[in-house]
């Protein structure tokens, strides 16, 4: 089994295939095989993450698949394209393959230059030249320097669709988190007895989709994975969910589908805009500026709404509480932990870099930032009003995803790092909180906050672990949430950022009021979390809860790793994650900001 992204992505699917062959009555074996599959996936993800860190720390020493995309281009893809030619012709072709996009454009602009090449190289040579040139255009983005584990294989040749997978600092943490949550969720789902086989198969299928979304660098491939995620999720909510599951599942499905259609339209428009047509994300990023601003704004809005639904951004968020409330615990965990990040990831990977003129347009910047502020404050107020434990955590997710938007809108290094880190830390803390809700729900069979109380005396270990999750979510220093929130605020306040860079809007106070308002969300966050702790864990124990057992081994396995992560990310944020994601984010931020009329100070 080779260590690469394809194996990583499809191993859960393969496991699902094996599980399919096991008779349904063999529930123990089904669970065991599924968990083993996810564990192997997680080990592979960890191995790749290690390799990524090492390669990032010392790019020159990287070998094999750790080499960055631009190195792969020179060392692998161009030689592969010219493979089979005679040595003489090969050297000749490689000599005239353009090294950069500029070089190609210059060539293109030159009247008859390409025709001359065609006659010069001959049919065979020209074909190889064409392939190599195309790859050059694809991989010669600044972003390619931090892309690793590249796999680029033609897939649907007539449409120029490639199987193009790679990860960088933006996607690596999310891939790893997906693999981790896959293990934890399946262990936690050990008690599922209704349609066990289908549940585990769908869950594994879901994991493949999620990892695929974060690895795909071909827009079409991305879209396929995006849709692949949708289906198992729909079934998981619709079959194993709570009483109102059909409504929630359909709402989730249709809502996301509406977004997908918008994304599909924008994707096709971009595909046909350029000649030759391409879905390659790196190429689309480079070619972005060729689309006039007006068209960019339309496309941006389409893609933005697609991702906004997923994030979810106000006012497209109402599917989330419903889906969470109805979904089984493990599904909620994946939904909050990873699925929501597809939205934020999409904005970073697609909407912002590909349409950077629109993304840095003042109106859009304000829109995103203000939506972020609304998410933070409005989500927190809604969370405060909840009496359903799970719905409260769901609204807290809405609130926390607002920080991602705020940091993204600021588009300063600090803000972007904060936003991306927030996706990761929220993935940890919200996943943990949904597990916490699940543990108590399994015992009490209700989630009414006003009906709990005194659980701390009955289940001290559970309370202790839950407290870590709650305080991480509250943004207590020393735990993961604080770091990302603090960075987001610093970034949003910072004059380096977009909204307030002097050269851009001429005012340095613009984003600061937003920070002031968002800070209100921090206080409200403390309010709803402390109030929840009080209502569930503190106070006198009711008689009906006196027979509750403390956390079982299964629940501990699911909860403890996340608790440890909360602390590790909170205490060693730089060493654990920021050092490794920064280079990619810097490249990305620079690229997006290159569309600015005046690049902000400090760039």
């Amino acid at each position: 089994m080779a260590l690469n992204l394809t194996w990583l992505t499809f191993l859960p699917l393969l496991t699902a295939g094996i599980v399919l062959l096991i008779p349904s009555r063999n529930k123990g074996l089904i669970k065991f095989i599924s968990v083993v599959g996810t564990v192997i996936t997680f080990i592979m993800a960890t191995g790749l993450a290690r390799m990524y860190m090492e390669a990032e720390a010392n790019p020159e020493a990287a070998t094999g698949i750790s080499r960055s995309a631009d190195v792969m281009l020179r060392e692998v893809y161009i030689p592969a394209a010219t493979n089979g030619l005679s040595d003489e012709l090969r050297a000749k072709v490689e000599a005239v393959v353009p090294k950069t996009t500029e070089e190609y454009k210059a060539l293109e602009a030159q009247e008859g230059a390409i025709a001359a090449l065609e006659t010069d190289l001959g049919a065979e040579g020209f074909k190889a030249w064409g392939e190599a040139t195309e790859l050059t255009l694809a991989l010669d983005a600044e972003q390619a320097t931090t892309l690793r584990f590249v796999e680029l294989v033609p897939w649907l040749k007539p449409f120029n669709i490639n199987y193009f997978m790679a990860v960088d600092g933006l996607s690596m943490p999310l891939v790893w988190l997906t693999a981790l949550l896959g293990v934890l969720c399946l262990v936690y789902s050990w008690t599922i007895d209704k349609g066990t086989k289908a549940y585990f198969v769908l869950f594994l299928f879901l994991e493949t989709g999620l990892i695929g979304v974060f690895c795909a660098l071909d827009f079409f491939l991305f879209y396929v994975f995006w849709e692949v995620v949708l289906l198992p999720m729909y079934f998981l909510i619709g079959i194993w969910g709570g009483p109102n599951r059909i409504y929630a599942a359909i709402k989730f499905f249709i809502y996301t589908l509406v977004g997908s259609v918008l994304m599909l339209l924008a994707m096709l428009v971009m595909y046909f805009w350029y000649e030759p047509h391409t879905f390659n994300m790196l190429t689309l990023m480079q070619l972005g500026p060729e689309i006039p601003l007006n068209a960019q704004l339309w496309l941006f809005m389409g893609i933005f709404i697609a991702f906004a639904i997923k994030v979810p951004i106000f006012p497209f968020h109402t599917w989330l509480p419903d889906a969470h409330v109805e979904a089984p615990t493990a599904v909620s965990v994946v939904l909050a932990g990873v699925l929501l990040k597809m939205g934020g990831y999409g904005l970073f990977r697609i909407a912002y870099p590909m349409l950077n003129d629109a993304a840095t347009h003042q109106g859009i910047v304000y829109m995103v930032a203000i939506l972020g502020v609304i998410n933070i404050v409005y989500g927190a107020f809604c969370a405060l009003a909840q009496t359903d434990f799970k719905k409260l955590v769901a609204y807290s997710s809405v609130s926390h995803m607002g920080y991602v938007l705020l940091g993204m809108a600021a588009m300063s290094y600090t803000g972007v790092n904060g936003a991306v880190l927030q996706m990761f830390t929220h993935g940890i803390s919200s996943a943990m909180l949904f597990l916490v809700v699940g543990v108590i729900y399994d015992r009490a069979h209700h989630r009414d906050l006003n009906d709990f109380g005194g659980i701390a005396t009955q289940m001290p270990w559970y309370t202790g672990i839950a407290t870590v999750g709650f305080f991480a979510s509250l943004g207590l220093p020393g735990l993961c949430g604080f770091i990302s929130e603090a960075l987001t605020f610093v970034g949003a306040w910072d004059g380096e950022g977009l909204i307030n860079s002097d050269g851009y809007t001429g005012s340095s106070i613009d984003s600061q009021w937003m920070v002031w308002v968002s800070l209100l969300g921090v206080v409200l966050g403390a309010a709803y979390i402390l109030w929840t702790i009080q209502r569930v864990y503190l106070g006198k124990l009711q008689d009906k809860y006196k027979n509750f057992k403390d956390v079982s081994l299964r629940e501990l396995i699911a909860l403890v790793p996340l608790g440890v992560l909360c602390i590790v990310v909170g205490v060693f944020p730089q060493w654990f994650i920021l050092d490794h994601i920064q280079p990619s984010l810097k490249v990305m931020t620079d690229m997006i900001r290159s569309a600015l009329p005046v690049v902000g100070a400090g760039g």
């Binding site: 449409f159 349609g195 086989k197 289908a198 198969v201 299928f205 879209y223 396929v224 849709e227 692949v228 198992p232 079934f235 619709g238 079959i239 059909i246 359909i250 709402k251 499905f253 249709i254 589908l257 096709l268 047509h277 109402t318 409005y378 107020f381 809604c382 405060l384 009003a385 909840q386 300063s412 290094y413 600090t414 790092n417 701390a456 005396t457 305080f471 207590l476 220093p477 020393g478 770091i483 603090a486 960075l487 605020f489 610093v490 970034g491 306040w493 910072d494 004059g495 380096e496 340095s508 921090v522 206080v523 402390l530 009080q534 864990y537 503190l538 730089q574 060493w575 050092d579 920064q582």
Partner: protein, 741 residues
Amino acid sequence: MPESTAAVELCKLALIILLLPLGAFIIQIFFSKKLPREGDWVSTVAMFVGLCMSLKMLFVDLFSTPTGITVQKWFPAQDSIGKFLLIGDPANPAFRLDFGIQVDNLTIVMLVVVTLVSFLVHLYSMGYMHGEVRYNRFFAFLALFTFSMLGLCITSNILFLFIFWELVGLCSYFLIGFYFEKKSASNASIKAFMTTRIGDLGFFVAILIMAYNAGSLEFDKIFESIANGTWKDKSILALGGICLFIGPIGKSGQFPLHVWLPDAMEGPTPVSALIHAATMVAAGVYMVGRMFPFFVGEGYVTGDWWGSEPLIFVAWIGGFTAIFAASIAFVQTDIKKVLAYSTVSQLGYMMLAIGCGGVAAGLFHLTTHAMFKALLFLGSGSVIHAVHSNEMSKMGGLWKKMKITWLTMGIATFAIAGLPFVLSGFYSKEAVLTTAWAAAKMNPGAYTIPFWMGMVTALMTAFYMFRMFFKTFHGEPKDKKAFDHAHESPWTMTVPLGVLALLTVLCGGFKFINKSDYWFLNRMDSEILAPYTHPASVNATPVVDDPEKHVHPLPFTDGRVHMQSQKQKEFREAYGLGHGTVTYLSMGAFLFGLLGAWFFFGPNSPGSKKDMLAPEAPLGKALKPLNHCLVNLWFVDAFYYAFFLKALHVIKDISYRFDKYVVDGIVNLQGVLCKAISSLVGIVDYEGVDGTVRGIGKTTLSIGKFAKIFQTGKLQQYLYASVFLAVGAIGLTVAIYLWVG
């Protein structure tokens, strides 16, 4: 500062002191059940070792050099783990934060105070908490608190200070709510956390302002940037100072965010002594002292501190809090509540001192207050332990039963009331008031009223403290049964009382060490302030020895001379000359307060015999409206409940209703419309007009049908469906391509 080996050694010592309680916490959390006595001795021993090391640092500080230690900084690990946050290019980072240790006189004094009180409180708790539920957790959180508090004192940058600041708040939250079965306890813990967090917003905004304008969060870098003019936006300095002070307003219980501190007395009494009297609440004072140059702001460039808005703001808030809280303490009947309001009032004093430009005076009062207030709380704990009630109406006459408690608490009461020339409280209070006096000379418009507020508070303090003392220990026993049961506490409780009483007497002597008239002023002020005080623009002159005006400068170890601007010179002289007046005034305040308390509450005094303050007595009647205000805490809490809490509930309900009925309503309405359209289309379809009607209605319908199918639970169907839809998605795209292309 260059790193010398000795400096690194000192910082290493501080790091070990910091890590000891953390280790104790970890042992307590995971292994305490397996240890004898549930491991209470682990934390206690850790605190004792920490205390010994802190004392060692203090002696190095006191006796090795004439001015003590200059600022020593050390970054324990500069490699990848040591960098806490580093965004952007390492050479020119967008944002950078390292965990650094900074040791100077201020740090050392705080280390000694924290470890000392913490150790004594640990010892005391071994007796007081004996047999309580969650005994091991109690010690675990005390240890965690000590760790956070020490971290707060030794860190070298403002964001780490904030981090530890929040962590002490967390421990305070856990310990106030220690008896979480009681609703009032968990309410109080939430109130404490929320109120301080509101204050922390201001703190955090100030950090953002500093990060943006100074480009660094290290204390010295921030001050340097103010002094040398690299601070980006000068106009925001004053706002930044005021924002920064909102943090201490929350944490140190200043008006108007003081409301949580009296409620915090729901926690066990040792916690009240350690956290809510001696150390954590004083963290705000420490922070204002540490950030003093930032509060002075532009004043550093001009050399005139007394026109700086944030500083005047600090002085006013401090002075007002002092007098405000003292007034409420008049009518409290719960012994711990009296002490709580007295703490608020004394914290106001410390703020007043710093706001008037006397960091050292404020910190001096912090130190002495830590001793006598911890003593008062531990003593009150001893009393509560004996009579099993907080209410003073159940006490009285206890001095016969509890001699040690009576004696030690008596010393503390005299100290806080300011017994002239004997106890530490007098000296520190005098230093505070003299500072305010001198500031009033410098800027009469801004500082005269704060000075008089402080002066009147001195009188009030003596009055309400003796009221408490007389009501508790003297007069007839009011509750015979409780009195009969009362007994002196075990040695683990009385020994800390004795030690604290001794220190209460002695620590006024800080003043006389090195024969300097005001050791604190010289040491701390010179160390905290001097390196940043005098940019080239200030026409500064050396401080000269002038016994007549009580000015005694100390030279620096590295040969620098202590410089001062003209304004600072005037301030120093005013301070020297103010001693006499202030001493007479505070002696008067002490006497009148004592006499007044004795008259109304003393044993066999005329006032108490006639019960002149009873509601039906003429004096009681006249004071009724005032009493009404005081008993209701000037309606501040009531106002918050009626206004803010109500508003919060209304807004949250409106938000959620809006979400449920408007935002989600639109979504559902669309669903209903789609359904209606699709059934319409379905009918048309059924009628056989066309079999290939497409559209969103159809989609909705077929999804609805799907959902029904799924109930069968047959796996193949799900998979077929998945594959079908996946293929469909691809097919659709290809079709569109073919159609368009």
